[in-house]
Homo-oligomer: 709 residues x 2
């Protein structure tokens, strides 16, 4: 019996121990448990935060240990106020080691014992007592979890109390609302509701998007059957419901790039270290995340082989071989594949995963002009994928020097925005690599210059690379999803219309029942013939209400209901997923009515999202407005000097300015998102007159700054 | 300066040293050198074979060292006869170590020195002296190669000669033809020509398919621009010319399986060792070839993670989770991905590569009947890919117990045939896994049995898995290619028709020239409109002859030539790639004429290949006919007992029976290829009467046995 179980057992407390892979973040922890067949089917995780109050340097600190639900937002300021302690700051790893001999990923209430309890102040969230699901606690290790009931957890903590040292049971949720509100007048009013949606049926999302966005996001993905967690951390299974979206994007983009003369190919996933490390700047951007194969069967490989994080250095040695003459240009290759970047940060489905699907285009041109044109052609296709297929607005622009692709000349991007968090998100990038990879000391991709009459002059080719990944799906979910679940734009929905028979009760005659089901079936056939993607949901073990919920969760754009009355009137009730609007529609000419309705849904979704994005793009010209505007979940647009030092400075100052409260949602500094190509929407910059609000130097162009993913 | 260079230098001989990755086969060696930019643009490899003659056990053996061109076929019997030595057998690794302190992959003529030269008999192929390209020799290491001229090599060898011990310069080619012919009367007459095609233009294949098939194969792939070698051994680059064939197959098959209700998805490429090793029989088939990731960035992973060699164990834990009710069945998922099997045998493009592209379908059914039906539906689609798309005949059947998929219930297959080598090749397989993966001690994929009125009985799902890989492309090349290069079946050719302007000379007026080019362009447009894939080759720096060769090498099914006379007659000269047949075709109704011609080419290609396959399927009922029939490049069809012990025995006896001559083409034993579903083409088996010719037991079904890939 392990020590944790033993010590609980000695108090007659029951726990179940689950071993899993090592986890270094709350998300990874949840992933590992969700993937394990030994975990309870539902559970709540308990986090243990340790703060150090400000004390005289010579005094021994008395750390504050806060035990709370993983999803709870912990306001250390309010706790400090309550306990009459100053400036609680998250404790360093050293302090954790000193007091508990554990790191933060192993820490749990079970680390408190008779020896250390008296040396710390212990706070437990009072709401834990009300939980009925099993609670997951680190079993003094980041790779095993003990599950126990809330009463057992409290009993464990209480047995440590002494005459002198008591447990502090605080209602953290109410503490928080009692704390002073954020400074900015632009901040939307703080939600006072809890994340749980009252009375939500079992199958609904269960958590509000506006209140607990991360949990909402993963719940939507799971409940809409988009993906499942996988037992290798940071990797996810793309189920057909999400993969079909990727297929729709592939079909469209693949046809478009072929029109531009791009051909598909496949280069191996393996790269030798020598080749990978050829371009120093480039590899510096990737090396901490490269996965290395070192063994095959039982044999060690002679030298480790990397799995491609991207394919520039994989492909360009061969470009050098294949391109012998200007007649071999342009060379335009693309591949649809997966790449691996072994990130150690919190994984997030679609947005940050260790393996992800993408396309990567790699082209070589004779002139910079040609390369420049293609960079923008591709970026325009990316914009159209977001806006026309996914109904997600993006802003095309160029990245700052600091944010451009490592090793490239310049990077263009389409920048998206997640209104709920107020953060920017990079949508897809199209890079001009210039001659950085073709120059002689690199891959030496060279042809004779056809414009030189002496045939003596050589010219190094101009290269581009461009990529779009499955991240697009995550962005779409975040932008359009709501508290009922996913909302799919019709153009990428694998089912655009679901038909549900209604109004059938125990009293309905078999004849009517089969008439209604027949009508649903006929309608499905009619719409399919018109090229629409339709499903008649004739499951006989589910109620219409269940089906409504089910398809709403999965985001099907349009529901058509047919009941006895509809049948009599030769109509169907159309219910839009995006707006909830219901309207009866005649069965006559139904195909064109539905087609048009789907088009309307598609364009309404984009329009609404555009309006939101617009309203959160805030022109700011005074430094003091920057942080409050960011805190109000906006992107600030500054007349910027474009100096890298200034960008570093903005990031640092905007991070410091907002108070850190919780390791789970660190308030990051703002970085530059992009310099929009379309500058016309902002007050014209007067050269030499308009100043950068961050540093006072001359402003060059309006630049979007924001917190970001 | 290294020791090799130094010792050559001391004799005033020049050599260039190229370092490369470790190579353990002639193909890998060639790969590594082709991939290196330091290698000469053309070269010939030199192999060094060591034989041990039969001697008295007490005598010290005098090994025979044979130095020959890598492509030469070495007849050890004939050499022994010439030197008056008995029973030359390839020497063991131990003997190589003893005499040269080297393994076979490092051995080279440079291993001969003043000390050991007198202890061996050295034979050098006289034809080496005639070679003018640089010769590649292992520089006493499998990871570096010395290039030197043939005269320098001979000078090196000659300086070792003493009064007593001389070099034997033998004409191995003529020795060989002087040796007794193979026993079988069924063997086609032995080619006496050398592999090099006399007078072949620079850009042609250069080597005859019938004479040096392996070199022909790689030359065709390289010259047709299908693939390139890659600097990680066993991995290849699929260039657009081959990848587009894969895309055509994907498009067709993907649409067909979607009709069957299969959905696409994506599972991660990584598998934890625990999950991978869950099914013992299954993993035993793969474990020696699994690639392991053990590091990310600079950190060692806590436990190694495998790259999927196939996805049964990746997917089925989730099938167990997702399948909760018989209403969740059938579950039919497919993915298009790459898998890794780190083979240590000779790699061969498309046929045996360390990473390859495929699709893998994984389905779960309520009943065995349903699973059985699907296994055959999918196999039929595979047959159609081979026969209808690639014009490659295959024979559908079932695998023997010994050859079935590890861990499955039974395996069905479509078996192809490579006439040039007389070897069978597995085309694609569709497996019924039975309940082997679903049973409780495995993945426990279980539902309540809907046919049980008490709702008590459980039933474990029936599973299938099925896969088709890029190997199909290799088979197509081997079957259809000829001494001009690739021959593409029209249905998968990315360019079906090439139009070449002809008859333009220096005397042709600009007007006529532009008229001809205009006519080519117009013709291309007309055919494109009709949905054909066409290219007008208007390159002005290439002659028509060059273009003919170029497109013939690349296998374009049809060439249309337009010259001044054609223009006058409103016709074009159509030249078929498959048959070489030329015929003038009127420009009137050209689209339908060309469409029909392409259909004819497609069906003629299949018909010819079918006739060949048929003629090489030999019904054999006496054991003594088995080996001669195999040696005659046939597949034997035996009335077989279907016992595993008998299969092992057939393999062993058919291997022993034919004499080994060269490590490069070991004469393998025959294994069972498949038991054809269609038994009607052979004499009916009389139960209890017809006997298995191998063991005399009762025969069950006609079974194909052959040497194979």
């Amino acid at each position: 019996m392990d020590s944790v179980t033993k010590s609980l057992h000695s108090l007659s407390l029951n726990s179940t121990l689950v071993n899993h892979s090592n986890t270094n973040s709350p998300a990874a922890w949840r992933d590992a448990l969700t993937a394990s067949s030994e975990s309870p089917s539902s559970f709540e995780l308990i986090k243990t935060l340790v703060y150090k109050p400000k004390t005289a340097k010579t005094a021994t600190p008395v750390p504050v240990v806060v035990i709370a639900r993983e999803s709870a937002s912990v306001n250390s300021g309010a706790i400090g106020k309550k306990l009459n302690l100053k400036e609680l700051r998250l404790a360093s790893e050293d302090l954790l080691k000193e007091f508990f001999c554990l790191d933060k990923d192993s820490l749990s209430p079970l680390a408190l014992n008779e020896t250390n309890f008296s040396k710390v102040t212990t706070v437990v969230d009072a709401s834990i007592a009300t939980l009925s699901t099993p609670l997951g606690l680190h079993a003094l290790s980041s790779s095993s979890t003990a599950f126990l009931s809330s009463s057992d957890l409290l009993q464990y903590l209480r047995h440590l109390e002494t005459e002198e040292v008591k447990l502090h049971e605080l209602d953290l949720q109410n503490l928080e609302t009692a704390a002073p509100a954020a400074a900015s007048s632009k901040a939307p009013p703080k939600e006072k509701e809890t994340a749980k949606i009252e009375g939500a049926p079992q199958i609904a999302i269960g958590v509000k998007k506006e209140v607990d966005f991360p949990t909402w996001y993963t719940n939507v993905l799971l409940k809409a059957d988009m993906l499942d967690y996988y037992n290798v951390s940071g990797c996810y299974i793309l189920k057909p419901w999400s993969f079909s979206i990727w297929e729709a994007i592939q079909r469209w983009f693949d046809a478009e790039i072929k029109e531009l003369g791009v051909q598909n190919s496949y280069f191996p996933m393996f790269v030798s270290s020598k080749v990978l490390e050829r371009e120093k700047d480039h590899i510096e951007g990737f090396s901490p995340e490269v996965a290395w194969v070192t063994k095959a069967g039982n044999s060690d490989l002679e030298e480790p082989i990397a799995i491609r994080p991207t394919s520039e250095t994989v492909m360009y040695p061969y470009y050098a071989k294949w391109i012998q003459s200007h007649r071999d240009l342009p060379l335009k290759l693309n591949q649809w594949n997966s790449v691996v970047r072994w990130e150690f940060k919190n994984p997030q489905p679609f947005l940050r995963t260790r393996e992800f699907l993408w396309q990567e285009g790699h082209t070589a041109h004779l002139t910079k002009e040609e390369a420049d044109v293609e960079v923008r052609q591709i970026l325009e296709l990316y914009r159209r994928i977001y806006e026309e297929l996914l109904a997600v607005p993006v802003i095309p622009g160029i990245k700052s020097e600091k944010e451009k692709f490592a090793g490239g000349l310049y990077t263009t991007t389409v920048e998206g925005f997640i209104p709920t968090t107020g953060r920017g998100i990079q949508g897809a990038t199209s890079h001009c690599l210039g001659q950085n990879f073709s120059r002689p000391e690199m891959f030496n991709i060279v042809v004779e210059d056809p414009t030189d009459p002496t045939n003596q002059r050589k010219t190094y080719v101009w290269q581009n690379s461009w990529g779009l990944s499955t991240r697009v799906i995550g962005v779409m979910v975040m932008v359009h999803g709501d508290n009922q679940g996913l909302v799919l734009p019709p153009r990428v929905a694998s089912i655009q219309v679901v038909i549900v028979p209604c109004g059938i009760t125990v009293n309905t005659s078999d004849e009517i029942r089969s008439k209604i089901e027949g009508a649903c079936d006929d309608l499905a056939k009619t719409l399919k013939k018109a090229g629409l993607r339709v499903k008649a949901d004739l499951r006989d073990d589910k109620t219409p209400g269940y089906k409504f919920n089910d398809w709403e969760q999965k985001g099907v754009p349009l529901r058509l209901e047919i009941g006895p009355n509809d049948l009599a009137k030769q109509q169907t009730l159309a219910v839009r997923r995006d707006s909830g609007l219901k309207s009866p529609v005649a069965l006559e000419n139904i195909s064109s009515t539905v087609s048009e309705l789907l088009d309307t849904i598609q364009s309404d979704m984009l329009k609404r999202a555009q309006e939101t994005y617009q309203s959160r793009l805030q022109e700011v010209t005074k430094w003091e407005d920057v942080v409050p505007t960011l805190d109000g979940k906006n992107v600030v647009v500054l007349p910027w000097c474009e100096r890298e030092a200034c960008e570093d400075d903005i990031k640092e100052r905007s991070a410091k300015a907002s108070e850190p409260t919780d390791e789970r949602a660190p308030s990051a500094g703002a970085k530059s998102l992009c310099i929009p190509f379309d500058q016309s929407r902002w007050t014209p910059i007067e050269p030499g007159k308009t100043k950068c609000p961050a540093c006072g130097n001359d402003a060059k162009r309006w630049t979007m700054f924001g917190r970001s993913y």
